[in-house]
Structure formats: structure tokens, C-alpha cells
């Protein structure tokens, strides 16, 4: 074991930055890292290597808690970064106030992907609870993306039934009865729908849906935008205890701030994430349809509450699952 330990490298020796992110951002950060490396070299003369790690958002957060030396985390939900703050104390509880827009440099939303022709006539959330409609969405317990999907449906139902929790719950219950398969992650669900041809509709992140349509051509899939959806806000943060130890705080902060610059926003938009910066948003307006969006804070009072009420062990989602068996 002593011999093996010598193979592990000692932190802080090389100019590297580890960005621990979630699955669908792989291509986004490949481009962004290249841009930032160039920017940093011009600015400081330092040549840096940015390492990426991708996986399910919750799993990635857990690895950081367990000691993965992430300089920055760019995850799907604020809840996951909160967990890092709470369970391991690696960054302060107020991390979300350190960067603009609640530390969410880009946003997305939840839309529907249907097969060409839309034979089941899916227009809005109400169509998803009809009997005989097969809905594909990953497991909210294991996928951050799926939690956005679930909360979007819940938020729609709350509005529709005038904040009647019982009826909203019945709505979501019926929706999940139409789900034949729980993939563990968003990409798995996309594959199930796109490659295997299972299901009539895929509830997906907008960026995933746009990517699928682009990859397989417009003649196979259509995007359906619901009347109301959630503003998905993937947050970013540097991990204080790691950057302090490795002496990379400056670089990590600059890396995240670069996301808010026009260059960073361009890259995000090119990868189908909705930019925050008005000028860039204007430029790419044609790509993102207008949807009325609600935020998680407005409807659920923030991630912590949403997580506790819906996704904790024995929470509403578990109760729905148990009732539906």
C-alpha cells in the first residue's frame, strides 16, 4: 500500500484546476476550458491544465464530500453544492451569494421531446397524464435533471389547481404512472428515448432536447414547449477548503467569473444553455422559444425545502412511488 500511495499524486504541485461537473456539460466545458486557458495565459502568463470530471450531479457532489479535490464544482442543483457545504463544510453556507445571479451563470428549462409528427398530440403537461401516453424521465432520486422535471410538473399542477397540494400531488402521481423505466441519469433517459425508441415523450432539459434534434436531424424529433416550465439554474462555486490548500483560489474564482463574461456566455449559448447576459441572449434569441418560467424559490421556497418535502427518504416522491406500485 505504501508503494501504491506513491502513485497518488500530491496536491498543489502542478498548475491544474479540477472542475467537477455533471453529465450534460461535458462538451460545454471542453470548449470553455480551452477558451479560459488561453485567456489565463494571456492574462498571467501561466499555462494551466483544466481537468474535468463528469457524472450524475448527486454522485459528483458526494465524491467531493468524500475527498475528490475539486477546485470548482459546476453542478445541476444548488442542493448538491449545499450538501457539500453542510455535510463536509468544504465551503461556507452563503456560497450562493458570492457570484451574480445566485451563482448561476446560465440557465435552462424543461421541455418535451416527441417523435416526428407528435402522434399522441402532446402540447402541454396535461397531455402527459393521459392513459396510454408513455413518458420517459430519469429517476428523480438519482438524477438532478429529473428533479427539475418533477418540480416543473409539480409547479404547473400547483398553478393549474390554484395551489391545491392534494390535486397537484394526484397530477404528478398520474404522470409518474406513465413512466415505464427509470434511467439513472438524464443521458440514459435520452438514449432510451432516442436510440431505443421507447416512450412517446421525453421530459428533458432544453439543452439536451436541442442537442438531440441537432444530432439526429429535424425529421425524427420535435420539441414541444409547455405553457409553463421551471427555470433550471445550475449553480457554480469554488470549493474553499480545496483552493485554500492548493493555492488556486484566484484561478478558480477567475474561472467561474469568466463564465459571466460575453465570451463565456457565448460558449454557454452555443451549447444550448440560456445566457444571462442580455446582449448574448438577444443574439441567440431565435434558438430559445419564449416560455413563461417560474423559479424554484418562488414556488418551493428554495432547494432545501423542495428536497426535504419531495425527495427525502419517505418524502412525497417516495409516497407516490409506494402508492403506485
Amino acid at each position: 500500500m505504501i508503494g501504491a500511495a506513491s502513485l497518488g499524486w500530491v496536491a498543489g504541485k502542478e498548475l491544474t484546476l479540477l472542475n467537477v461537473s455533471y453529465d450534460p456539460t461535458r462538451e460545454l466545458y471542453q470548449d470553455f476550458d480551452a477558451a479560459f486557458t488561453k485567456y489565463w495565459e494571456v492574462k498571467t502568463g501561466e499555462i494551466i491544465t483544466i481537468q474535468q470530471s463528469h457524472g450524475g450531479s448527486g454522485k459528483q457532489a458526494r465524491m467531493v464530500i468524500d475527498g475528490l479535490q475539486a477546485d470548482v464544482v459546476t453542478l445541476a442543483l444548488a442542493y448538491d453544492i449545499d450538501a457539500i457545504a453542510e455535510k463536509a463544510g468544504l465551503l461556507p453556507p452563503g456560497w450562493q451569494q458570492r457570484l451574480p445571479h445566485n451563482s448561476c451563470p446560465y440557465t435552462s428549462t424543461v421541455v418535451f421531446l416527441v417523435r416526428k409528427g407528435n402522434s399522441k398530440g402532446i402540447r402541454d403537461w396535461d397531455d402527459l397524464i393521459k392513459p396510454g401516453v408513455s413518458v420517459i424521465t430519469p429517476n428523480p432520486k438519482t438524477s438532478g435533471g429529473a428533479r427539475w422535471n418533477y418540480l416543473a410538473a409539480w409547479g404547473y399542477a400547483l398553478k393549474k389547481f390554484d395551489r391545491d397540494e392534494g390535486r397537484a400531488r394526484d397530477f404528478v402521481d398520474r404522470l409518474f404512472r406513465n413512466v415505464p423505466i427509470f434511467d439513472t441519469g438524464a443521458r440514459g433517459a435520452t438514449t432510451t428515448f432516442v436510440q431505443r425508441g421507447i416512450g412517446d415523450v421525453l421530459i428533458a432539459w432544453e439543452n439536451e432536447a436541442l442537442l438531440s434534434v441537432k444530432e439526429s436531424g429535424k425529421d425524427e424529433f420535435e420539441i414541444v414547449t409547455p405553457s409553463l416550465s421551471i427555470l433550471a439554474e445550475p449553480p457554480v462555486a469554488w470549493v474553499d477548503s480545496v483552493v485554500n490548500k492548493r493555492g488556486t483560489r484566484e484561478m478558480a474564482r477567475a474561472y467561474l467569473e469568466y463564465l459571466y463574461t460575453p465570451e463565456g456566455q457565448e460558449i454557454a449559448a452555443r451549447h444550448y444553455y440560456r445566457p444571462r447576459l442580455e446582449s448574448v441572449a438577444q443574439k441567440y434569441a431565435g434558438m430559445f422559444p419564449r416560455v413563461s418560467l417560474f423559479t424554484i424559490n418562488e414556488v418551493f421556497g428554495g432547494w432545501r425545502q423542495a428536497q426535504k418535502a419531495h425527495f427525502s427518504d419517505g418524502g412525497i416522491f417516495d409516497q407516490i412511488q409506494r402508492a403506485g406500485r
Binding site: 500500500m1 501504491a4 500511495a5 502513485l7 497518488g8 499524486w9 500530491v10 496536491a11 479540477l18 453529465d23 461535458r26 462538451e27 481537468q51 474535468q52 470530471s53 463528469h54 457524472g55 459528483q60 465524491m63 464530500i65 468524500d66 475527498g67 475528490l68 479535490q69 455535510k87 463536509a88 441519469g185 443521458r187 440514459g188 435520452t190 438514449t191 432516442v194 436510440q195 439536451e208 442537442l211 438531440s212 444530432e215 439526429s216
Partner: protein, 301 residues
């Protein structure tokens, strides 16, 4: 003296076995059932993997192979296998020697413990190492303070791989060593050989094919392990991604073409095993023949 002594064994080897053989109907029915089963559980999956891999042709295969990150993953996988397989071989030889050649109390408990990693879920394996070495684990704080990385680094991947492939060599060797008995070793001792000499010149050659087969299985599993390694790897692209993780990453990476690329790599990760599988047919048959051959000779006497 020469020539007087001839055994009649040759004459008795080939005999008609009509009375002790199935009817042709039963025989072909059995073959048909076996083939049907193999079609569903072996041939079709194999062909499917191949078909997926080559659906976009060699270009895709080649490009997914030559990406720098893929090359790094291949290198890491080879390193991990190069560490874990020899260690498990060493263990397998020692365990098989102790278990096959000696009687002692608690032997069956030991055998059960050796089998145990077979049945432990890779997820649990990963969890165990996290409980030990994770930042919140038993040694996490100490390791962190000393700058030693085990999980989310190569040592953790090696440990998980060793655990997963732990029983393969021992499991192959124990029955073979038991079958060969100890007379040859004793003969070597009477001829003046030391313990090591006996082991190298007599024991090792006589279990050669069992050992090779065990190494092949161990290696295939070491290079193919996904679950446990996934938990402890950290998935840092180009640094702690092994081939199977890379397969998954490519599968998750983007829809469409990349999935195909993922299958390319899946096929690639499987390929060494298959090559071995084809090769091992010969040695294993030979071992079988040798063992059965020596038995029938004993019966002849």
C-alpha cells in the same frame, strides 16, 4: 530388456461405446437446445456488440481509440491491470499451495472468504473503500493531512480492482493443484530440490494452464471492471478514467454518434478477453486431457 515391456493400454482406449451413449435423436436434441440457449445468451449479444461497434465503420472505431483521453484511459487500465493481476497471481499461488497441499483447521472458512468478493456488489466494494479512505472515513483526515491520495486516484482504483478480481486465480488453481496431488513434489524433494526449486520446476509447470486461464480471467475482469472503479475513481478525464469508465463517459457524452463510439470502446474493452477466450480453448483442453489421461492410465494398471 528393451521391448519386453509393453502395456496393453493402447488397445483398450478406443472401444465402441454404443451401449453407453445417447441415441442420435437425444444427442442432437441436446445439441439443439444447447445451441438455442447459446444463440440467445452468447452469440446474439456478441454479434450485437460487434454490429454496434462497426455500424459507423472503422473510422469511428479508430477515432474513438486515438483520442488523447481514450489513450490515457487505455494506459491507466493497463497500469491498473499490471499492478493488480500480478498481486492476485501471487496470492492465488500462495493460497492454492496452502489449501491444496496441506490440511488445517478453518480451511473451509478460508475458502468461503476467498469466494466472498465474487458476490460482493461492486457498489458495496466502492462504498467500503470510501468508508475507509474517504474524507469522512476512518483514515480520511489523516491521509488528507499527509497529502496521500488513495480514493479518486490510482491507488483506489488499483485497490478496488484487486478486490474485485481477488478470487479468480486462486479459484482456478486450487482444484488443479488438488488434482495433481503431492507425489511429484515429494519426488523432487528426494532428488535434493529445495522448496523453491520444487515449486518452480515441478509445481508451477504442472498447474501452468490453470494458472494461465486464471490470469486471463483475472485480467479480463480487471480491465473490464466498471461498478467498483466508478465509485472510487473520481472520473477525472485523462487522469483517473479507465477504459470501462471511458466507455460510459462516451455513452453519456452526447447522443447519437458518441453512443456508437461508446460501443466501439465496449467492444475494444471486451476484445482482449475474446482473443484470450479463443486461445485458451487449446490449453484448457490439454489440461483436461492430461488429467484424464493420467487417470485412465492409473486405471489401466
Amino acid at each position: 530388456m528393451t521391448g519386453i515391456i509393453k502395456t496393453s493400454s493402447a488397445a483398450s482406449v478406443k472401444q465402441s461405446r454404443r451401449g453407453a451413449e445417447e441415441s442420435p435423436l437425444a444427442k442432437w436434441a441436446l445439441i439443439a437446445v444447447a445451441l438455442a440457449f447459446s444463440l440467445v445468451f452468447l452469440l446474439l449479444p456478441l454479434v450485437n456488440v460487434m454490429a454496434q461497434a462497426f455500424v459507423k465503420g472503422w473510422a469511428c472505431y479508430w477515432s474513438s481509440l486515438t483520442q488523447p483521453d481514450s489513450r490515457a484511459a487505455i494506459r491507466l487500465t493497463l497500469i491498473v491491470a499490471a499492478i493488480s493481476v500480478p498481486l492476485n497471481v501471487l496470492f492465488g499461488l500462495a493460497a492454492a499451495w496452502a489449501i491444496a497441499k496441506f490440511e488445517f483447521r478453518g480451511k473451509s472458512l478460508l475458502v468461503t472468504l476467498i469466494d466472498l468478493p465474487f458476490s460482493v456488489s461492486p457498489v458495496v466494494v466502492g462504498l467500503m473503500f470510501i468508508v475507509l479512505f474517504g474524507l469522512q472515513g476512518f483514515f480520511g483526515k489523516w491521509l488528507g493531512a499527509h497529502g496521500i491520495k488513495i480514493i479518486f486516484a490510482v491507488p483506489g482504483i488499483v485497490l478496488a480492482t484487486i478486490f474485485i478480481t481477488f478470487p479468480f486465480v486462486a479459484r482456478e488453481l486450487i482444484p488443479v493443484m488438488q488434482a495433481t496431488g503431492t507425489e511429484q513434489e515429494q519426488a523432487a524433494l528426494t532428488l535434493g530440490a529445495s522448496g523453491w526449486q520444487t515449486f518452480w520446476h515441478v509445481t508451477l509447470p504442472s498447474v501452468k494452464w490453470g494458472l494461465i486461464y486464471g490470469i486471463i480471467l483475472c485480467n479480463a475482469r480487471a480491465m473490464g471492471e466498471f461498478g467498483a472503479v466508478s465509485v472510487v475513481s473520481g472520473h477525472i478525464i485523462g487522469r483517473t478514467e479507465t477504459m470501462p469508465l471511458r466507455v460510459e463517459a462516451l455513452y453519456q457524452g452526447a447522443t447519437g454518434a458518441s453512443t456508437v463510439a461508446a460501443f466501439c470502446r465496449g467492444e475494444l474493452a471486451g476484445a482482449p478477453g475474446l482473443v484470450y477466450a479463443g486461445d485458451q480453448d487449446f490449453p484448457r483442453m490439454e489440461t483436461g486431457e492430461r488429467i484424464s489421461g493420467s487417470r485412465s492410465r492409473i486405471v489401466d494398471r
